[in-house]
Symmetry: C2
Subunit: 369 residues, 2 copies
């Protein structure tokens, strides 16, 4: 794996050099992990003028806190005592290597840290690296996609088992905790994000935090969960009805969201504009008069973080590439009544390779449980 | 409750005025919650020249995402569309109110946000509010302490129930998830931090992330968990032995850590220097030759965040006040063998009131399970 990380660092270095900076400091944890193989708590990565270094704080024990080891080929420098800031130390090291400028992640560093970095090396010119690493992360290699695929399988399994159990009378909180336990049972590092379970009037709300409301006959039940596997995070969301026969309004709303989500999935292709995919997923819902009840986005990239570029939203810029994993997750929430959300993780693939690859394969039929 | 939040904002305003700033912008979520009663996702609090405002992003639905409502007496301003930054909007509002300077939380704001705030109001002088709100949060009122007390009871209950179950053969991950489920069963908002369960060679490591290692006869088992109750976070840690008779080295190490932890607890008093409390907890371990195996701190404040001021550490400045809740958590980890950690949450109280109030009351005898 070591070559993978070295190659990623080389690509970043090329971008920095093209931007006029001989050195870069990466501080955002997911970016550090992407380039160094692991992100020990507080660690930063220096792409130096003469040498790359992973600069860590704290005792050696903490170095594997996230359960993975950094790339062996990367020298590690640990701060001697407690309380130091690796970003400040790395800035000093960059200056000592003779760098004249250092590109930093200004969207991640706080003003106080940036000030401390400036004062430790007053002659070093600090420039903004911007989201260069996030941009490198958008297109995944097959190894990354395989982690997402395994994570999706785990989430499918956890969800499938839940559906076989008795649901009426249990609280949203309990169902969410049970799902998280099952994710871990099946080999996840942990949940990819806080599991959302919404019943009755809470169903269909994006990011709903589970409450003590209990599942009742006739409810919509919507569930959104994901597994983290080797650091990679996927997402699946489904909505069910509780009881033998859904009401007419439930069937209509479900069919509508289902067709919207299918339209979104079918719009995924290399070269498709992100806003066009969003429009495809949104159109049927807009036309049915739910424009007010829609979320601000209908999908987003996933990877080492659960919410990555690209965004599928009306004002999104840019186009999709092959090997970009995204969610497609339109939904409608009617205040006081509840709603429907259907959410899949897919990988953008060219038509010649069979089109978008669906990672989360749990059925999207309207199940009555 | 509304008066409580208004009184806190008045205290902060007095500090700002004394520092020469007529307006302040609070962005760190725990600080927003402390002053406004709730911290909807992304919301910031403007203490303006003429009016205080809670500036929120996103749709109304998100406003109660953490399950609590903001102080009713505080006007709420929501951004019109998606994608805006409430901190930037609030900066514009501060300027529109005629403020000449605005104190901001430079330890929380990123360089990019700060830059956007500067450019929306170029004539407004931005100064550093520093950790003014964190300092206000150190001493708790009885309402806050009562939330911590209930949280500690919940954690004690969850831990007590675990001890009654069969442990041998179960993995660290499972035990951690079961503890988190029990916290929620007993009324917690959720865990206060990621529950840590360490067995055998992993026992006694601060912040150990649970693995798939199973509990074995003869192991040390150390557990660290906490409940969040109405936003307030407590912490308890205990170490047990598995099987009928602990080995001699286990008894010796346990007695040593126990006496160190007791010395730390007994040193808690209004006016005591933080570093003296740390030294009290550290001394016995140092003398026994474990100086190398000790953590960098032996305790810390708790409240709306799990790791607050004060720090109990060798280089810590400052003294304790009455009504400051802190953890006392010395431990020793011997690489390859495991170790012991004992962790309580207590409230500093004067001698006349009975001395430090122990919130986490699970026994600290060495239990063989």
């Amino acid at each position: 794996m070591s070559e993978v990380y070295a190659a990623r660092r080389t690509r970043l270095r090329e971008r920095c050099n093209a931007g006029g900076s001989a050195a870069a400091l990466v501080s955002r944890p997911a970016n550090v992990r992407y380039l160094a193989g692991a992100a020990p708590h507080g660690a930063v990565l220096l792409l130096g003028k003469t040498e790359d270094l992973l600069v860590c704080s704290g005792p050696r024990d903490d170095r594997q806190a996230d359960g993975v080891r950094p790339d062996d080929s990367l020298p590690v420098r640990a701060l001697p005592g407690p309380g130091g800031d690796p970003a400040v130390a790395a800035t000093g090291l960059a200056a000592a290597q003779g760098a004249e400028s250092l590109a930093t992640e200004d969207h991640h560093l706080t003003v106080v840290r940036h000030r401390a970095m400036r004062s430790v090396a007053p002659r070093l010119r600090l420039t903004d690296l911007g989201q260069a690493v996030e941009q490198l992360r958008v297109v995944k290699d097959e190894e990354e996609i395989s982690c997402l695929r395994i994570g999706a399988e785990i989430a499918d399994q956890a969800l499938g088992e839940l559906l076989e159990s008795i649901l009426v009378g249990r609280t949203e909180r309990h169902l969410a905790l049970e799902l998280e336990r099952r994710l871990v049972d099946h080999g996840a590092d942990g949940p990819a994000f806080s599991t959302s379970v919404g019943t009755g009037p809470n169903s269909g709300r994006r990011g709903h935090r589970p409450t003590d409301r209990r599942v009742e006959e006739g409810d919509f039940l919507s569930v959104c969960l994901g597994a983290t596997y080797r650091g990679y995070r996927c997402e699946i969301g489904r909505t069910f009805v509780i009881g033998t026969s859904p009401a007419d309004w439930q069937i209509e709303l479900y069919d509508l969201v289902f067709s919207a989500q299918r339209a979104g999935r079918e719009a995924l292709a290399p070269g498709a504009a992100c806003r066009d995919v969003d429009r495809a997923a949104r159109q049927a819902l807009d036309c049915a008069g739910y424009a007010e009840n829609l979320p601000t986005l209908t999908g987003h990239g996933v990877g080492l973080e659960i919410d990555e570029d690209p965004q599928l939203a009306p004002a999104a810029m840019g186009k999709l590439d092959a090997c970009v994993p995204v969610t497609v997750e339109p939904g409608v929430h009617l205040p006081g009544r509840g709603g429907v959300r259907i959410d899949d993780t897919l990988v953008v693939r060219p038509e010649a390779d069979g089109g978008p690859e669906l990672l989360t394969i749990t059925t999207k039929e309207l199940l009555a449980l």
